[in-house]
Amino acid sequence: MGIQRWEIRPLEVWAKAKEMRAKWQQSIDDAEKEHVLLAQGNCNWAVGFPALRVIEDNPVGAMMGYRSSQFSRECRAAGEILGWGREICGYQLNCWGAMYLGYQMDGSKFPMRDMVVPFPDPCDQHTKRGQAPMDYSNIPRWQGDSPLYTGPHDPERDATMIENKVGTTLDIIADIERIYGQIFDDEKFIESINLAHRVREYAAEVCLSMQHIPAPLSQKDLYSFYTLGGLTKTDPEETVELWRMLRDEVKWRVDNNIAAVGTERYRWIEAHPPPWYFLRYYRYMEKYGAICIGSQYSHMMGGPFEFKEDGSWGPRVPLNSWGERPIKTREDALRAMFGDDARGHNFKVDEVIRPYAICEFAKAYKADGAIMPLWRGGVGCTVTRKEQGLRLSEIGVRVLHYEGSQPGDRTDQDETRLLDMLDVWMESQGLRKLED
């Protein structure tokens, strides 16, 4: 029997994503020249400040791992001699190592942060990650928390936890206004929240579309958009437009059975970020007609999902629990941003607290297999990974684990061995390469 071949086409909107990412990078590099403050963190409210840009070491460290193993190795060595453990998140070590060295990959000056507002809790490394620039250059640091709970709905816990997030963020904004003399533009912030809800809705639609056979996108495509509007803060309107374009193009691809991998016959999921320095393994799997349809991590851009009573797969919490109420004040905007349910807002719930949740994910996306890296560095990347693997095996999803240092750290990655493992694993499932 011949192999089913779907039509493939490059994703048109990808060029736009690339352009926006480059623009963001430029804005960071120009921050000092333009007398704009640079905040290390996530700060979804930063748009309200006229002269504040946000940068996270997540995309920075990942990008360094992707672009130059040699430079990121130098950076990590610069951190290790100061006492950083080898098992620390490679993103942090890449990023802060460059800070210790004083320069970036292209030789330009390292953009020193002016303040730190860490994005707390999903991984302990997030909580601690802003520590290095604060300890190094004595800049202010504001810590928030991301309280959450599991179990039955508890209105009192919800209220207190949401209050904590809203109140702490209000305090941080007020502090920054007071210390730096910048006036926070509430209107701009409110507008950005309205737009952010739309980004999330589009992102959720894109994630849901990955249920289709053939999958309209690959995991690599998803990652091209993943940080835009999230960790990489781009112009809010342009961001919404980008996501709308992506949603439309994906919808069209689904309607017309345009595939990311024309020979799709095996669907796999993965866990957490991939080895950025070795994305070639996605292509390698395509030789088997195997497509990665994402991970709980990459689908986080659309929020947490669950099976509904009617058997459909949909967002666990309403994408806009604030509803149609008008957002009038800064506080309203923050409440709309945080929602009103402190359960399950955070992917930590699914990845860490409910390791069995990955089975629902695998079922929803009709996965045949799962490739679950075991990273030595960091903690969020690896915690409960083997439990997830066991749970998947129990429901008949084949699991491959492989080891490495961390998605941004090539040190311990044996690439040849990984490819060999992929061959053996696929062949053990009765699959042969379709082409070579």
């Binding site: 601690k128 504001w142 209050e163 075991l374 409960t384």
Partner: protein, 375 residues
Amino acid sequence: MHRFKEVLDNRHEYAKNWKARTGGKVLGYFEPYTPEEVIYAASALPVRLLSRHEPDDMTDRNIYASCACARDIVNQVALGRFDYVDGITYAEACQWMRHAFISSQYFQSFSYTCDIFVPDYVDGHRSKDVMYSEMKAFKKSLEEWTSNTITDEALDHAIDVYNTNRRLMRQIYELRRADNPIVSGAEAMEMVLASQVMDKEDHNRMLQEVLKELPRRSHAGYPGPRLMLVGSPTSDANLERLVEELGAVVVIDELCTGSCYFWNEVIPQEDRLLALSLRYLGKPHCALKDNNWRRRPAHILQLYEDFNAQGVIIAKQIYCHPHGTDNPHIWKILRERIYPFHFLERDTTVPEREMKTRLEAFINLVEPVRVKLRG
């Protein structure tokens, strides 16, 4: 004094006997942010699930990486050593411990599990509200599980017992400030570890007796250079013993299983749960929760000076990310003050020969010719 070590070494038997004696439930906990007084007030026995650092061939299927402290707890659960533990609770701290909390449930079924959120921003003026609300939720769930109402009187009693324990442990530690301490580092560590697996009233009685006996103890003479122990927690006194066999003395530690466990008291107030919330948030900062308002470095320096230490051993568990991330700053402050320190990385077991060689070299650096280096 040896009784503490006995309890520690036979902690499972201790807990089983306690159960047989009282008919109460045992609640295992993973992190020192667990408000033990509330458990105690529910007439259950809070027991810290301490690791044993044994080579392990049980947990590999379930856990990758992870510090040995967290992993070994799961190993012991898998081996059935905690079969007397009725319930477990995890008060949010390090993620490897959360992993242990989760994996343990795949090896043993517990009649009660509870997850308490503890802010990472322990100093935030809004953090106490979350902690307080978590405390209330915890109290309610404990009442349901134990079928005991936790009254104010029971909480007062528990707070009193725990505060007494903290004061008595502080008295023991104070003795170590002397030029020739009559309590060794290994002994002190065993006392504080034992306190975490015992009924505190029993422990208090033992401490009171020991404090009466101690003045009669003869000084062993000059104990050698005075060292401080900093770093990831541990659940035995093997390292202290090794150091002390080499002719130095550990006079103070800054471990979450050591001094940080009992350092601050509950300051009583009308609202007992609020008083408890403030106590747990106000603990000496652990590496993970030492963020905006850096208190850990100052605390370490203060202890160093108060206990007249002459050098620091920074012992980190492999895969301990909180300490792996916090260490650069700790190294920096020690270097700035020219306080000698030695960085040791520990794994599941203590490689005695290798550690001995390294510690000998360090002790010699602090006090040349103290240890005759082996050829």
